[in-house]
């Protein structure tokens, strides 16, 4: 059984790991390969700030809410392991700020210690009148991808740097199952009018005195269009840019100013912080994640494709729940093809 995962961001690598973990002992031989034109540090995941936090409202999507929770619980269970730091994983607390009172988010019971901000805390943020405090998790994209790559390499998963032009070429190359984790570029393999790039730009600074995330919300303007400050393990990410449909991969100076002024206003101590990097990335925006099977016919054989893309700005937040779901779909494929020696008990 040859499985090809297309895409080496957090979705591709975590799905590859999840599939291999669950099936390598019950399905032999199982060859898993990762094809991608970009690997860390050049993926969208590398640009992400790395904070576990879903959107404010789950838009009625119970499945996604469940995958978010699964991901948090999975990460929380690893937070005490000695490898947490090498995974890029650590607890982090911080502030969500609003201009007016808002309902509590659906994820308030998933994060730890969720509460409203006290008046004295709000004093620190004169532009905002309401907010939350909670403890969440940081999962730094670059470190996590490096860690995933190490785990996959240990398992004999092989990586190939190549730009895939079509599912057909991969199928004709001998893949039995293709897992499509191509993120913002999924439309190049199969047109998807629901998928759009949500361009983001971030500035990374050296500001080790900042220990909390601070995320502001402007409900009129929309998600990620208001300043945010998210400390990572070494650097602090400053952001606040979300441009639908903009494919420009170049850092934009106006966006730089928007981020810098917004974040310095929020946190005056940043004034003297040293800038260490500036990056642009594309959130794969979709009304909901496309996580489903599709059978494609090339010549005489059927190729199973499992789509797993469209995670918007919450890919790290939801990745493990989606990987589990993709692995479940993979299991269905195996059952249908009567390929399992023993039905895995954990399905």
């Amino acid at each position: 059984m040859r499985v090809v995962v297309i895409g080496a961001g957090v979705i591709g690598l975590s799905t590859a790991l999840c599939v291999h973990e669950r099936y390598h002992s019950v399905l032999q031989p199982l060859a898993v390969e990762v094809y991608a034109d970009r690997f860390t540090p050049l993926t969208s995941t590398d640009v992400a700030a790395g904070l576990w936090q879903p959107y404010l409202s789950d838009r009625g999507n119970r499945q996604e809410a469940h995958w978010n929770r699964q991901t948090f619980d999975y990460l929380l269970s690893h937070v005490h392991s000695p490898s947490a730091a090498s995974m890029g994983l650590a607890p982090i607390s911080g502030y969500n700020l609003f201009h007016e009172a808002v309902p509590d988010p659906s994820w308030k019971d998933i994060v730890l210690g969720f509460r409203k901000l006290t008046p004295r805390e709000l004093d620190m943020f004169p532009d905002y009148s309401y907010g939350w405090f909670n403890t969440s998790l940081t999962l730094e994209g670059r470190r996590y991808l490096q860690w995933l790559t190490e785990r996959l390499t240990e398992r004999g998963v092989r990586f190939f740097q190549r730009k895939v032009e079509s599912f057909e070429e991969v199928a004709r190359g001998g893949a039995d199952v293709i897992i499509n984790c191509t993120g913002a570029w999924a439309g190049a393999l199969q047109p998807d009018p629901l998928l759009q790039p949500g361009r983001g730009q971030i500035i990374k600074v050296d500001a080790p005195w900042i220990k909390h995330f601070v995320i502001t919300h402007d409900l009129d303007r929309g998600i990620y269009k208001s300043p945010y400050i998210i400390p990572g393990i070494q650097a602090v990410t400053l952001g606040g840019i979300f441009q639908l449909g903009n494919w420009s991969e170049v850092n934009n100076s106006e966006d730089h100013n928007t981020i810098w002024e917004g974040c310095c206003r929020l946190e005056p101590t940043l004034k003297d912080a040293k800038i260490v990097a500036e990056l642009t990335g594309f959130r794969p925006v979709r009304p909901q994640i496309r996580l489903e099977r599709e059978q494609l016919c090339f010549g005489s054989s059927n190729t199973e494709v499992i789509h797993n893309y469209g995670h918007g700005g919450y890919g790290l937040t939801i990745h493990w729940g989606c990987a589990l779901e993709a692995a479940k779909l993979f299991g269905e494929v195996l059952e249908e093809r009567k390929l399992l020696r023993v039905p895995p008990s954990h399905l």
């Binding site: 730091a85 650590a90 210690g113 805390e121 620190m124 005195w209 909390h212 393990i233 101590t269 003297d272």
Partner: protein, 394 residues
Amino acid sequence: MESQIRGNVLSHVPNGKQFCFPFVSGHWTSHSLGKQVLVAEPSVVPGRLCRDRPMDPVRVAVVGAGVMGLSTALCISKLVPGCSITVISDKFSPETTSDVAAGILIPHVYPDTPTHKQKQWFRETFDHLRAIANSAEAREAAVHLVSGWQVYRSIPTEVPFWADVVLGFRKMTEAELKKFPQHVFGHAFTTLKLEGSAYLPWLEKRVKESGTVTLTRRIEDLWELHPSFDIVVNCTGLGSRQLVGDLEIYPVKGQLLQVQAPWVKHFIRDGSGLTYIFPGVSNVILGGSRQSGDWNLTPDAEISRDILSRCCALEPSLHGAWDIKETVGLRPYRAGVRLQKELLARDGRRLPVVHHYGHGSGGFSMHWGTALEAARLLNECVQALRTPAPKPKI
């Protein structure tokens, strides 16, 4: 033997042991009797010689350049008009006790000081530092907010007096306690932390901006400062045991590890106060130890291993910490902070002293509040000096 002064101080009058004072630059040198005296350089700044006139600046010597000495000097410069201040110490940052201290704002409880006083000092310190943490000075002063947990192995009977001074104080939830399997209860809150080795130089800069001068010199006897200075502020911490004969103050040695573990963003403190993890700007501090009566400043390797082991039990990711440095400091332990005026008298001479020392493990937590109080006491001394009254003949 000579030692240079870091700034203009005072001069020597050729007719004997007494000092007089227009402000000139000079240097310390050995008198033929072996006593250190100050010799004036030729350039004399015209100044008033008579100290009885009310407009003369009152000359204040602050002895000690740890967080107490520097903060008190700063408070005096801001609050008590008409003072000229000199900070005198044998040690300045980075060689003071304050440089070793962890710098977290969680008060130590003084059995002999009324609780309302401790709360007032803590609140004053917290509010003062919070303003710095929110300003562009935060980076240089290395003052910042930090959130975290204080965890207990048995349920405490009382809520700490400082609960409503820190931010967001509340009980930990069951889910949060899962992170600490050996503890059954906890408090979560947000407080402040500073780094002594950055905060002290920052204080020193502020202090100098206000016209205060600093002088590196070991004072063996407060009377050395008479009559060059009108009032002495004693911020010598443990040094007071010898300097003023206070046997109530004694060292409680503490050993700390400074490590690199930049993913640790929360403080964790065991309710007993013996084990703690405090993330700072340039390192994470792991502690600690308490050895009463031990004056030895050499780190103990066994204690370091034990600290690391206890901290890893609280936070397993610390197994990955690197660049581990050991430091040792002596907490100036006293049942109560000594904030008190005293009028020293000898051979018809008088020297008002304001004592400001004895903060044990709670120095940073209280420093601004007690410095304000010391400045108030100093102001009382200044008022007393300026009250026209017959002065004893010298």
